[in-house]
């Protein structure tokens, strides 16, 4: 049997290399042009309309009262996330515990604090004195060692931090739990087989690997909370959103001041996104 002669075009002209012509994408160019036009329209609408009052925006962007309110927003975010993830990690470990009481309590916490709206919870903590005029530390149903007036102990700032942190802890618990579960079981076994102490196993072997899953989700939560702190305005705390409202109620420049707030939220979240990128890269080390 003979095979038909196959003439390969590649081999026809060995001395001259073949040129590659990239495909044209006319529709892609058209789409890009449309987007450009829309962008130009948006820019023109922002720049040419004097009602935006960019000069007022510039005037208030770095006003001391606004900067102070940005710092308070940051403080609330840091405390809310810090305490929230600390408690969330404890809850996640409780949830994964072999002890049924511990895991049930952790489940119940997440169920309760994910179910109650944050704003309602904030008002609840703020008004705790209505329920318990005095707080004391002591034996349950028995004698008390310390005793405080609730109003002295839980001011608006404490109530806000408490509310944000407890709310955040419920979400953080699920994120940390998901991260811990994402680590290959073999890692736990290898660590146990090597005789590593339990705390070392958690902090040196399991958590650093769980961070790969935790960080992107935690980034979402942190950025969410930066903006979420704006709900504490109901407690008259001078964070960013409350502060711009105070100012525009006084001078009537509503849109300009809302823009000031928007710009600050943009700056904060942009910085956080950049930080997140580097943190992810750190925890991704050793992975191709």
């Amino acid at each position: 049997m003979t095979l038909p002669e196959v003439q390969s075009p590649v081999h026809q002209d060995a001395e001259r290399p073949l040129e590659v012509v990239t495909a044209r994408h006319p529709l892609r160019w058209l789409a890009a042009a449309c987007v450009l036009v829309v962008l130009a329209m948006v820019a023109s609408a922002l720049v040419t309309n004097p009602a935006w009052e960019w000069d007022v925006v510039g005037q208030y962007l770095f006003a001391p009262s606004v900067v102070r309110s940005v710092l308070l927003t940051l403080e609330l975010t840091v405390l809310g996330i810090g305490l929230g993830f600390a408690l969330g990690t404890v809850l996640a470990l409780m949830r994964l515990s072999a002890n049924r009481l511990l895991s049930s309590v952790a489940w119940g916490y997440v169920w309760l604090f994910r179910s109650v709206p944050l704003i309602l919870q904030l008002l609840f903590w703020y008004n705790l004195a209505l329920l318990y005029p005095r707080l004391s530390v002591g034996v349950p149903f028995g004698p008390a060692f310390f005793d405080f007036g609730t109003m002295d102990l839980i001011g608006p700032l404490t109530a806000a931090v408490l509310g944000l942190a407890l709310h955040q802890a419920a979400y953080a618990a699920e994120i940390v739990r998901g991260g811990l579960l994402s680590v290959d079981h073999g890692q736990r076994e290898a660590a146990a087989a090597l005789g590593l102490p339990p705390a070392r196993r958690l902090f040196r072997i399991i958590l650093p690997q769980a961070m790969r899953t935790i960080v992107p989700n935690a980034g979402n939560e942190i950025i969410g909370l930066v903006k979420g702190t704006s709900v504490v305005y109901i407690m008259a705390l001078p964070e960013l959103f409350y502060q711009v409202q105070v100012i525009y109620n006084r001078n009537g420049r509503v849109m300009a001041l809302l823009l000031v707030a928007a710009i600050w939220y943009l700056i904060l979240t942009t910085i956080l996104s950049i930080v997140q990128h580097y943190v992810e890269r750190f925890y991704g080390r050793g992975r191709a």
Binding site: Q187, A190, A193, L194, G195, P197, Q209, G286, A288
Partner: protein, 253 residues
């Protein structure tokens, strides 16, 4: 010669699945035991009881005189606190089929982790130890690499070095070459052979019959949760007395 490993009447069930059905086993110091058998015969579970990764339901496991996981008081066994179990485990090196190296730590850090944090040895002593062990498995130049950048064979050699870093009295290998590409099996078996010649006591689960013939002092055939037959490789591999052993060997040889 003294017994390094001594199993008596070991039973283990997972739910309704009776995986180990009263296993007795003795491994003398310096001896190399190879366990063969069909999958699901309980080989891995047996090996895992020998460093207490699995608790036994009944029976006892002794390694180097330690009753693993328990303290005997009269005729009762009291569960040991985790700290004690971990101390017992540092005498036993375990090499997994899937390597289980810590991917976020460098090769050097993988090797140093257990001597530093489980045995609390000083860094000045552990660092040269890690270098020595890497040289021994032929990977001295990979100390600062991350495990994922290495081939499967190299990763398993690192895992062996990591197990050796505890300077264990007993090494357990759970199908150390089953996850490897065929051309990488040899380099890992060579390292294990080298250790065997050096007088390390070891138990190896493997399907590499040629390896068993060359290295083992004795070969055990396991089926349905029991050691069916145990003897020197020449006898068990070439002249098995049990029908089940014959049937299994005819399939793998």
């Amino acid at each position: 010669m003294s017994s390094m490993v001594e199993l008596r009447g070991v039973h283990k069930s997972f739910g309704s699945l009776h995986v180990l059905r009263g296993v007795d086993l003795d491994v003398r110091q310096g001896q190399v035991l190879v366990i063969v058998g069909p999958s699901g015969s309980g080989k891995s579970t047996l090996l895992r009881t020998i460093n207490h990764l699995e608790k036994v339901d009944r029976g006892s496991v002794r390694v180097d005189g330690d009753l693993l996981g328990y303290r005997q008081v009269g005729d009762r066994l009291h569960e040991l606190p985790e700290r004690e179990v971990l101390r017992q485990r540092t005498k036993i090196g375990f090499v997994f089929q899937a390597f289980n190296l810590f991917p976020h730590l460098t090769v050097r850090q993988n090797l140093m982790e257990a001597p530093l944090s489980a045995q609390r040895r000083p860094r000045t002593e552990v660092e040269p130890l890690a270098e020595r062990l890497l040289a021994r498995v032929g990977l001295a130049d990979k100390a600062d690499a991350y495990p994922r950048t290495l081939s499967g064979g190299q990763q398993q050699r690192v895992a062996i070095a990591r197990a050796l870093a505890l300077e264990p009295k007993l090494l357990l290998f759970d199908e150390p070459t089953s996850a490897l590409d065929p051309e990488l099996v040899g380099e890992v078996l060579d390292v294990i052979k080298d250790l065997a010649r050096g007088g390390t006591t070891m138990i190896v689960i493997t399907h590499e019959i040629g390896f068993a013939r060359e290295v083992a002092d004795s070969v055990a055939f396991m089926d349905a949760g029991l050691i069916v037959e145990l003897g020197p490789p020449a006898q068990l591999l070439d002249n098995p007395t049990h029908e089940r052993t014959r049937a299994f060997l005819s399939k793998v040889l």
